[in-house]
Subunit: 419 residues, 2 copies
C-alpha cells in the first residue's frame, strides 16, 4: 500500500513537472506531437496487437463476455481509427492562451482573461482502450498533462498505447511524462490517485455508475462526472404529429444503448388520445416495449404498467416509459423530478412554451423540436468530447477542449496605483 | 446531532423549493425585492441594533478583542451602508437567462448556451455581519437560494438581518426561504450542512485559513475557496524605477492587511544594486520591515535575514520579504514555487517578458505594470464580488454574479433527427 502511494506520488510529481513545461508550448509543437503519435500508433501496430492479444487471452480465461471481448479487441482498422482521431484533435483550434473579455477601465487599466490549461488531469475509465488515446490527446491539446488509470482487462493494451504516445510526443519536442498510465492493476492505486491533491487538479471518471460513485466517494480532488441519461421528450398539445413521430422514433430507436437516447415520453393529455396510439404502434413495430402510466395503458394496446422505478430508469434498451401529463407545468415538474438532468426536449409550435421549457427544465441540455440524440460534443460543433458533465460547476453538458481549461485574469497597466 | 441533521435537511428542502421558483422570476421582481430589503433594513434598524447589542454584550463577556467587537458592531451608518450595498446589487446586470455562443450547425440546428442559477448556495463565514447582507443579495440577484451560516459571535445580528431580508423579499413577490440563516450556533450544524448534497449545490467559505480548511476537509459538496494571498511583484531589469517605486509603495503600504497587498518583492540582479537600496529606504520610511535574502541584506541597511517561511508567508502587515533573482525564468519559477497563486505582477518595459510572465505565472491574476491592489471584483468592473477564488475550476480570481451561475446548452430545431 505505501509502495503504491509512493508510486502515485512519483507519477504525480512527474505529471506536474510536465504540465509546467506544456503550458509554455505553441499550438504548432503540440499538433506536431499529436501527428507523431498518430504515425507511431500505426507504425508500431504489431506491438499494440501483441499486447492486446495478451489482454484478450486473459479476458477469455477470466470468462469475459463476447461483447466485452469485442470492446477490448484492437485490429488494424481500429488502430487506424485511433490514429485518425489523433489527427482530428490536431486540427482543432487550440484554446490555450486565448485572451477574451478584454475591456478598458476608467483608470486606463486593460482587464481581461486568458484561457490556460488546468494542469494535471486524471482519467479513470473502464475497458475500451480507445479512451487511452482520445483522452490523452484531448488533455494534451489543451495543454494538460494526463494520468490515465484504465480497466485491468485492458492493462497491457493501455500500457503499450500510453508508452507509444509518450515516446512519440517526446520526439516532437514535448517534455516526457505528458501522458502516463498508472503502471499497476492494484486497486489501491485508485485510492492513492484520488487523494493526490498536490499534483492532480481534476479527476474525470468514465464508465458505469458504480465506478463513478466510487470515484466521487473517494476523491478529495474535484471530480466532473456523468451519471445517468434518463432523457425525456415532452409532446406539447401544439406539436406537429408527423415531426413528433419522426423525432421520437429517432430518439428511441436510432441507437438505444447510449446516454442521449430517449428513455421517457410525456404527452399532453389534450392530444394523447390521437397521438399516443399512433406513435406507440410505430415504436412497437420497431421492437420497443412500452411501459405506461394508467392513461397510457388505456390508450395503447400492448402497453405494460410502468412502475415508479421505470420512470426513473435509464434503460439503454428498446424500452420506453410513457406518461400523460395535464400541462406544460406538469411536464416540467415531472422532468425535474424523475429526470437525470442530462438532455430533455419539448416538441411544440408554441413559442412561449418552448422558451419556458428552456428556462425551467433544470438539465444540462434542453432542446426544442429535435432529437435528444444531438446531445454530443461533435454535434454541437465542439469538434470532440471528453465526456458529458451532469454536474453544474465548471462544465455542464458535453465537454470539449475549452472545458479542459481554466482562465486567469490579466491586467495591462501603465503605472496605475490604487487610491 | 440527529436533530441538527433533520433541521438542516428541512432548511435544504426549503431552499431547493425556493430555488426552483427563483429561476423563473424576472430581473424586475428580483430587483424590487433587493430594494425592499434595503428599505426594510433601515426601517427596522432598531430591531437590528437591539440584536446587535445582545451579540456585543455576549462578546464582551466572552472577552472578544476591541477589534473583533468593532467588526461586529452595527450603528445607523453601517446599516445604511448595508442598505446601499443592496441598492447597488439591484443596479447590476442580471446574468440569468443570457443566451450566448449561439451558432448554426450545418443541419440547421441552432446551438447555444443559456446562463442559469446554480441552485442553492451555502455560505459559511465568520464575524462581520455585512456578509449576511452582501452574500445574500448576490446569491439572490443571480437567482440562487442561499443558506447562511455565520459566526456564533454575530448570531443574533445575523438572525435579525436574515429574517428582515427574507420577509422583505416576500413582500416583493419572491418565494419564502430565498434567504435562510441556520438557526443554531451548534457546531454540528456545519457538518450537517456540508454533507447536504441533495439540496446544496455549492459551498463558499469566507474567513480565515482554519475555517476554510475545515470546510474543504468536511464538505462532500463542491467548494470554491480562497486561501492565502502571498502576492509578488517582480521588478525586471528594464523596469522604470520611478514607476516601480510608486507601484511597490502602493502595493505594500496602501492597505497592508488585505489579501491583494504585496508580500514579496523580487528584483532582477542587474538592477538590484541601484534599485533595491532606494526602494527599501522608501518602504522603511513608511514603517515596513524588510526581510531579505543574502543579496538583499548586503544591499539594504537594516534588512533582516528572511527565513524560508518568510518567503511563503502572507504577512497582512508592514513586513516584506525581498529576494534578488538572476532572470525572468528564475522569477517565474520562484513565484510558482513560493507564491499562493493569487495575484502577481511584473514591472517591465520588455514586451516579450511581459507576455511570458502573463502566460507562465500560474496565478489567478497576473498583472503588468500596476499595483497588485487592483485584484478586486469592483476594480475589474464586475460591480461586486462574492469572494476571490484561488481554485482553478469553475471560477478563478474575483467572483462576480456570473460566477454564481452555471450554463445549459439550448438547441432550437425544426424537426431534425440524427442519422
Amino acid at each position: 500500500m505505501s509502495d503504491v502511494n509512493a508510486l502515485l506520488r512519483e507519477i504525480g510529481q512527474k505529471a506536474k513537472h510536465a504540465a509546467a513545461r506544456l503550458v509554455t508550448l505553441s499550438p504548432e509543437i503540440k499538433n506536431r506531437a499529436l501527428l507523431a503519435m498518430a504515425e507511431s500508433l500505426v507504425a508500431r501496430s504489431s506491438q499494440i496487437k501483441e499486447a492486446n492479444l495478451k489482454d484478450l487471452e486473459a479476458g477469455q480465461a477470466k470468462g469475459l463476455s463476447g461483447a466485452m471481448l469485442d470492446r477490448l479487441m484492437l485490429d488494424d482498422k481500429r488502430i487506424a481509427s485511433m490514429a485518425k482521431a489523433l489527427q482530428q484533435v490536431a486540427l482543432l483550434e487550440d484554446p490555450v492562451g486565448e485572451i477574451y473579455d478584454m475591456h478598458v477601465r476608467p483608470n486606463g487599466l486593460r482587464v481581461g482573461r486568458m484561457r490556460m490549461p488546468i494542469g494535471v488531469i486524471g482519467i479513470i475509465y473502464e475497458s475500451r482502450p480507445n479512451v487511452t488515446v482520445d483522452a490523452g490527446a484531448l488533455c494534451l491539446k489543451s495543454g494538460n498533462a494526463v494520468v490515465l488509470r484504465g480497466g485491468s482487462e485492458a492493462f497491457a493494451t493501455n500500457q503499450a498505447l500510453a508508452e507509444i504516445m509518450d515516446a512519440a510526443a517526446q520526439t516532437a519536442g514535448l517534455p516526457e511524462h505528458c501522458v502516463q498510465l498508472v503502471p499497476t492493476t492494484d486497486r489501491a492505486a485508485v485510492q492513492a490517485m484520488l487523494t493526490l491533491n498536490a499534483y492532480i487538479d481534476l479527476i474525470i471518471p468514465r464508465g458505469g455508475r458504480s465506478l463513478i460513485e466510487l470515484v466521487v466517494k473517494t476523491s478529495t480532488i474535484p471530480v466532473i462526472k456523468h451519471y445517468d441519461g434518463n432523457c425525456h421528450i415532452f409532446v406539447d398539445e401544439s406539436a406537429e404529429f408527423e415531426m413528433a413521430e419522426r423525432i421520437i422514433i429517432n430518439a428511441k430507436c436510432q441507437r438505444p444503448g447510449v446516454c442521449n437516447a430517449m428513455e421517457s415520453l410525456l404527452v399532453h393529455e389534450k392530444i394523447a388520445p390521437q397521438f399516443l396510439p399512433r406513435v406507440c404502434k410505430m415504436l412497437q413495430e420497431r421492437g420497443v416495449e412500452i411501459r405506461g402510466d394508467q392513461a397510457t395503458c388505456k390508450l395503447v394496446p400492448g402497453a405494460k404498467a410502468a412502475s415508479e422505478d421505470d420512470f426513473r430508469a435509464e434503460f439503454l434498451d428498446l424500452i420506453l416509459s410513457v406518461a400523460v401529463v395535464p400541462s406544460l407545468d406538469a411536464a416540467i415538474e415531472w422532468i425535474n423530478t424523475y429526470g437525470s438532468h442530462h438532455t430533455d426536449a419539448i416538441l411544440t409550435s408554441d413559442h412561449r412554451h418552448a422558451m419556458r421549457f428552456l428556462s425551467e427544465v433544470d438539465s444540462a441540455c434542453v432542446f426544442v423540436n429535435c432529437s435528444t440524440r444531438f446531445s454530443d460534443g461533435g454535434e454541437f460543433g465542439m469538434g470532440c468530447e471528453i465526456g458529458i458533465s451532469t454536474d453544474k460547476l465548471h462544465a455542464r453538458g458535453p465537454m470539449g477542449l475549452r472545458e479542459l481549461t481554466t482562465s486567469k485574469f490579466i491586467v495591462f497597466g501603465d503605472g496605475q496605483v490604487r487610491s
